[in-house]
């Protein structure tokens, strides 16, 4: 499963599916006056944050489209048979032997001449990799952590929450019991337990994050569905003989979409932050910013201090989270009627 996720064919397919989904969503939003107005109002509030999110998404996509061969990328025979992403091709071969400072012409400690003097805008790390390149590679990882996890947890929470809230009785009892059990465990301990028990891979980390994060949203949709179920138009639909599934599809789910959008935006940053904590405990995802920051702890105790690795990862993480938090707040302000009063 892990190999499947890492193969470049899967990665390209995911990009294709995402692109098709985005086009479909765009057309649906354009047709719906309420949603297109809400999005426009959101963009008016935080134009810069929206563009920053788009930039990160573009970098992540550039690092997801990959193919084998073509051009003079790696010098040796092995790397010419490995799939290279658009981002890899843009940077080409940037490898050095060890640390070098930003724009340096010689190595940081050994003072020997670099292979690409002056070309490393953010310096190189302990393995001689260009820090700007490694940081940009981290964009895809961060988006994968937030996106894939949401893709698992939100549909699961929606399904369970709506079924429990709508049908009630034994189904509700069962779902509520599972939610209580999962919520009674401290989430960081539950995360750790899941990750150590599952095989080590990116998918496992996302799965573990999904198991800990779906519970809260499930409670929210359950409560909301219970409220919606009692509304007059639902009674009217039932009196007209509309089937239960159709009521859920036509009357319940559309009234939950604003919650989905708000939750997605607001939990995304939490997921990326959780991964950083996991990386610190050495059970995170390979190549994430959290891992770069965790490694930087030792670099700060070196003499002279190696700071560019930490600075690059921390800035990339901070800017992404800030942009997502701002966009998330703007989305909530626009969509949630409860915060409308505060805007006046």
């Amino acid at each position: 499963m892990g190999e499947l996720l890492n193969s470049h064919v899967t990665s390209n397919l995911i990009v294709l599916v995402l692109a098709l989904g985005a086009i479909g969503l765009w057309r649906a939003v354009a047709k719906n006056r309420l949603w297109s107005e809400a999005l426009r109002s959101m963009y008016r509030r935080r134009p810069i944050a929206v563009w920053v999110c788009a930039l990160y998404l573009a970098i992540g996509l550039c690092d997801s489209v990959a193919w084998v061969g073509g051009g003079q990328v790696g010098s040796d025979a092995v790397s010419s048979h490995q799939a290279k992403t658009l981002l890899d091709r843009a940077f080409g071969d940037t490898k050095e032997k060890s640390y070098s400072a930003p724009f340096a012409r010689v190595e940081f400690y050994a003072k020997s001449k670099l292979r690409h003097p002056g070309s490393h805008v953010l310096g190189t790390d302990i393995l001689g990799r260009d820090v700007l390149f490694v940081t940009l590679k981290g964009v895809r990882i961060a988006l994968l952590i937030g996106g894939l996890t949401s893709l698992i947890s939100i549909p699961l929470a929606l399904l369970m929450g709506v079924l429990a809230g709508y049908f009630g009785k034994y189904l509700d009892d069962a779902v509520f019991f599972v939610v209580s059990v999962l919520q009674s465990m401290p989430s960081i301990l539950l995360l750790i337990a899941l990750i150590t028990a599952l095989p080590k891979s990116t998918l496992s980390v996302c799965l573990a994050l999904a198991v800990t994060s779906w519970v809260g949203f499930c409670r929210l949709t359950r409560g909301e569905t219970m409220k919606l179920r009692e509304l007059d138009y639902v009674y009217a639909a039932r009196a007209l003989g509309v089937s239960e599934l159709r009521i859920i599809w036509r009357h319940i789910l559309p009234n939950l979409t604003h919650l989905i959008v708000i939750t997605f935006a607001l939990t995304f940053s939490g997921l990326v932050l959780s991964e950083a904590v996991l990386a610190w405990l050495n059970i995170g995802v390979e190549g994430s910013w959290g891992q770069m920051i965790a490694q930087a702890k030792n670099e700060l105790s070196r003499d002279p201090v190696v700071w560019w690795n930490l600075a690059a990862a921390a800035t990339a993480l901070f800017v992404l989270l800030l942009a997502i938090n701002l966009v998330g707040d703007a989305i909530r302000d626009v969509l949630d009627p409860r915060t409308a009063r505060e805007r006046q």
């Binding site: 009674s184 750790i192 337990a193 950083a276 904590v277 059970i283 800030l322």
Partner: protein, 321 residues
């Protein structure tokens, strides 16, 4: 009332039993005893060595109850040991888990309790101040600052705090621990400051929302119409009414204080329960890990029951039967 307490406790017991089954599924079905043994003594161990290790650590029984071993199987054994607090020995270094938990609880609480208290007091005080100046530049800049603070990873607060306060300014030692209280306070100061700073952004934002919601309620307008001053309104009326949602969020965090703080303890060298958990992760010590999860959920369930009961006393509007 009594009927409610009994029902609530029975549900709590059911949840704990559910947690135990979840842990059984995770640590005996997903990760099989053979995997645990291999992680403890190495991938290339001989089958005989693995069998011996499993026998020593009590992993050699059949998983499920069946004819001939209704009592003597992993499932029943797992429940029996956890429910009687007989956690056995660590998978990694054979120390008795219960002893290590007892030893770690003290250092953990001496870190988390002051951190929690300072965090709550600062958060409430600060957000009350901000809510008083709502819709001015003080309020707006605080909201921006708290979003900025929320977007910084906790790791950065730790690294930054250790580098700035510990290494450059040399106010407090970078890491370490000591049993005597005078020395311990010096060691704990930095992690407490870092922990409070890391959580301040999101807590100010949360408390501010609660206060602002209260400020627009009718009783505040009534108080103002009667001629009460703004300061009196904030402290007497708004703060007291806002305490109910605030207490709800605070009380749910208290049980987890006993579990220590993973990040802070591991990076500041405090030998508490958080460090114990981190050691268990690095040492693939599954026995300790599942014990920690179990104890955490036990604290949480007991805390929840006590909270629900105390509400009936604190808030006359809530009736539980």
């Amino acid at each position: 009332m009594l009927a409610y307490i009994v029902r609530r406790t029975a549900y709590g017991v059911l949840v704990v039993l559910g947690v135990l089954f979840f842990l059984f599924a995770l640590f005996f079905l997903v990760t099989k005893p053979d995997d645990i043994a291999r992680k403890a003594i190495g991938d290339k161990a001989m089958p005989a060595v693995i069998a011996q290790w499993k026998k020593n650590h009590g992993y050699d029984r059949p998983l499920w109850p069946g004819p001939g071993h209704v009592q003597d199987n992993m499932l029943v054994e797992h429940y029996r040991r956890m429910l009687t607090f007989d956690f056995g020995r660590s998978d990694a270094d054979d120390t008795i888990i219960l002893d290590r938990i007892k030893k770690g609880a003290g250092p953990s609480i001496s870190l988390t309790l002051p951190e929690f208290a300072f965090g709550v007091l600062l958060g409430i005080g600060f957000s009350l101040f901000v809510a008083f100046f709502r819709e001015t530049y003080i309020d707006r800049s605080t909201v921006v600052l708290s979003v900025l603070g929320m977007s910084v990873s906790a790791l950065l607060y730790i690294i930054g705090g250790q580098y700035l306060i510990g290494k450059l300014l040399r106010w407090f030692p970078i890491s370490g621990f000591d049993p005597s209280w005078a020395v311990r306070a010096r060691f704990l100061a930095l992690p407490i400051v870092v922990g409070v700073a890391a959580s301040l952004g999101s807590s100010v934002r949360f408390y501010r929302t609660v206060f602002i919601e209260e400020i627009y309620k009718d009783y505040v307008r009534t108080a103002r119409a009667k001629g009460a001053g703004e300061v009196r309104i904030m402290t007497r009326h708004v703060l007291q009414n806002a305490m109910i949602p605030i207490l709800t969020s605070i009380v749910t965090e208290i049980p987890f204080l006993l579990m220590g703080s993973l990040l802070l303890e591991a990076s500041f060298g405090i030998p508490g329960l958080g460090s114990l958990t981190v050691d268990a992760i690095t040492g693939n010590d599954f026995a300790t890990l599942r014990t920690m999860v179990y104890i955490g959920s036990l604290f949480f369930v007991v805390g929840q029951i006590l909270t629900d009961i105390s509400y009936t006393i604190a808030d006359p509007r809530i009736r539980l039967d």
